[in-house]
Symmetry: C3
Subunit: 357 residues, 3 copies
């Protein structure tokens, strides 16, 4: 339970009205009861306040909160930013208990920092070191010689392979997998794939060969403040480590291949797949289901729209889209052209008739 | 072991021949032995009956079963529908034992209905309520205050986050993840992505900023008769709950983002990804690897072909395909036009020569 | 620790210099210390040797290793092949201990071969048979009546559903799921999807219907030397089994639907999705995020570029790309044509002015 005053202070935001009113939860305006903070951060949302019975609202700057029927209001100049503060304050969490659950299997050679919490049926292997204040959720697996920083929050069923190094405030959603072996194989002789890559499409004589495994000797290095989505996967490097830079966030079912380096403060949206040995700069945003071919370079600040397939290098600052990826404006032009293809064909037929007949 | 008569009765189907013959299993015609029910529901399958030794077949209406060498036949006017009945009858299941396995970790404040089965090393947290007859598979995790209806069937390694509400007859395949945190972040100032969305491709001055987390205060609401595939993921809502309507089926590795509402009786095929705050109607079918951008509306009865990327609203009843999604017939036209582009270019060159020279 | 002589012998490679020098690890040239084997298999990598302090290098045939400052060199005529041998030799593994961990739950009716290792909190169900020398990682699940061959290596959190049959030397990365139920449903009457498939886009009168389940009576058959990536999923067949041929390798988050047959020595790269009842030949390579529609035939030796959506049969030996998939050279032509569409449209306008005005 928080007073309007406490919330405003926490957000460093202005507030008006009865600042001693209290709220328990956040709610959308139409669902908000008298103990809820109504998220009415734009006029279109505020319209639904009548359907609920909120007394307190988070509103836009300059909103006439009294006319909305509210008894108190907190002003959010940048609404999504205020959402960050409000939701952190009101997050009820998963209820993972304090302490180490007796059913957890912790190797005597693992080191747990102060206040580490370990959920039921979690496994922590020899040589693992867990930083102070970290929460290892139920049924997690922390491999041999893993280093995990302070204040990590691992949900249920997360696994971290041997020798991974992870910074502070790491968050991983259910089923995230760090440190699987890289997908790396070789045929004894030159394969059809190698030939087709060189010739841009002709694999020559296809000879049936089996694949020999290239083992992963490297591990995964993850910076501070990194977050991984549910069931996402990050593979070990072959010789060097795969790297995820500080502040980067990976959504559900994202795949990062061996040797790849993801820079700082990147956002990889749902089901994005990065092949092996890719080099991604800082502040890169890849929309959902983006794919990146192997050995590609992507510069700082690149933005890719959803579904983009990046098959060649992308210079810093570019906004791209399409399969294969082109500049957003080129993609728009190509798409418009395709929509007009039927008319173009009819025009050409008419011209041919007029000219050649 | 079932007699032909029992199977026909169960399917409400006609049968002829020796109705007291018994079968143990279903089999494809070429593999079917004397104790198998041969799935010979179309002439092309019936041809292979000679390679096996079936005595009983599931055949099409009006089939001459005696000429096929069978001693009894069950008639299936709609073969796939009959498959539903037959396979339900003959499903051998996973052999998850009855009762609560002693290795399961069940919080004393969890409530289990009559006949609930809990597999080895499953965890059920405080406040969870499991409906009568439900089967919680080995190594599953049921979070705090989860409500799960009657007759659920959870395979191994399924996890359900805190406060999810799930209806009756829920089925989840191995590794399905309900209730991860939504992928929601905000930069302190306007980001390049926000600018690029407004300008359709120009992000202006790219300023490096870090991402602040918007926590998920909402949970997941799932109706009755919902099924989730292996390793699929459904995220919590931010303020309101993410919703999956009754009767909807999600395939393996499908992703549903925060706040999204999926209607009733939808089919989301393999690796489909739905972003946040999407509104999907009833009876929608999305082919494999479909992607849907955030804040999109998809009307009732929409069908999307495999690989479709839906980047704008789709009205009810439409059949779409492509990247970006267009009406199926438009897609076919655009594709034909593209295949003719080489010829068009040659035509234009010829015209230019004739006209301008 | 290995001598240069031992490594060269193991690789069946030539070596020169002080063959008694020893190395502990492999390293990239710039990171290599005196106890490391520097991976300097091409001139561009060898340039970085100066930044490190390697004494021993893996170099290309004919390389002047003494001029590079090395004291010994091993020659790799096919560098990636040498990587296979080197990394196998130096792989430190995951440190899964020997023997059966006391916290594992093993049904008395399961059979374990000689030297089988079972990690903490793994579950092995009744009737499962595990071949000699296999390693079942922590928190794995082996279902009822599963047959698993010799020398398997299962990482943490892998699950295998009931009745799967798997050959020798199977490897599965964390969270791989074998034997979920197939995604197979039927409506009581003809559905909009069935109609839209026949008419190529018109679903006629859309009637709202619910989906009835077709259960999976089949299981999964996996050959020898198969490897599965993290969180990848392979579904049970409906009547017959889903099949993965010997020597095939599946990357992270790959999905294989029910009844599908994958041939021998195939490579399915990251996030590839194969629908149900697909028939894939031998030595097929599908790039990352490839999708294959149901009931498709793909011949031996086919190669698909990343992001390809295969919607019709592909004959043996073809190299394809695009959505929908076409021959690589056709794709290149179509793409070039699209890039020229703007110019074409301007040409046509000019022609129309000249001819019709």
């Amino acid at each position: 339970m928080f007073t309007v005053r406490e919330i405003a202070t926490s957000l460093q935001a202005e507030a008006e009205g009865d600042l001693d009113l209290t709220v328990l939860r956040a709610a959308e305006p139409q669902d908000a009861g008298p103990d809820d903070l109504a998220m009415a951060m734009a006029p279109k949302y505020a319209e639904s306040l009548d359907e609920g019975s909120a007394r307190v609202g988070l509103v836009w700057e300059g909103a006439d909160w009294q006319a909305m029927g509210l008894q108190a209001a907190i002003f959010a100049p940048r609404p999504r930013l205020a959402m960050g503060g409000i939701t952190r304050l009101l997050d009820p969490g998963q209820g993972f208990g304090p302490g180490v659950h007796p059913s957890a299997v912790i190797d005597p050679e693992a080191e747990l920092g102060d206040g580490v919490c370990v959920g039921p049926l979690a496994v922590i292997a020899a040589g693992a070191r867990i930083g102070a204040g970290s929460v290892i959720g139920p049924q997690c697996y922390i491999g041999a010689d893993v280093t995990l920083g302070r204040d990590a929050q691992l949900r249920e069923g997360v696994s971290i392979g041997a020798r991974a190094t992870i910074g502070d405030r790491f968050r991983a959603q259910p089923g995230a997998r760090v440190g699987g072996d890289g997908f790396s194989y070789v045929t004894p002789e030159v394969s059809g794939v190698e030939t087709a890559r060189k010739t841009m499409g002709d694999q020559g004589e296809t000879k049936a060969q089996s694949w020999l495994r290239i083992h992963s000797l490297g591990a995964v290095d993850i910076g501070d403040d990194v977050e991984l989505g549910s069931n996402c996967t990050i593979d070990n490097g072959t010789i060097r480590n795969t790297v995820i830079g500080s502040g980067s966030k990976l959504d559900n079912l994202v795949h990062v291949g061996h040797n790849t380096r993801v820079g700082k403060d990147c956002l990889l949206c749902g089901q994005t797949g990065i092949s092996g040995s890719v080099d991604i700069g800082n502040n890169v945003v890849l929309g959902g289901q983006t794919g990146v071919a192997d050995n590609i370079f992507i510069g700082d600040g690149v933005i890719a729209g959803g579904g983009t397939k990046i098959l060649s290098n992308v210079p810093a600052g570019r906004v791209v889209m399409g399969y294969p990826a082109v500049k957003m404006e080129t993609h728009t032009e190509m798409y418009k052209g395709q929509r007009r293809l039927g008319r173009l064909m009819r025009d050409i037929e008419a011209l041919k008739k007029a000219v050649f007949k």
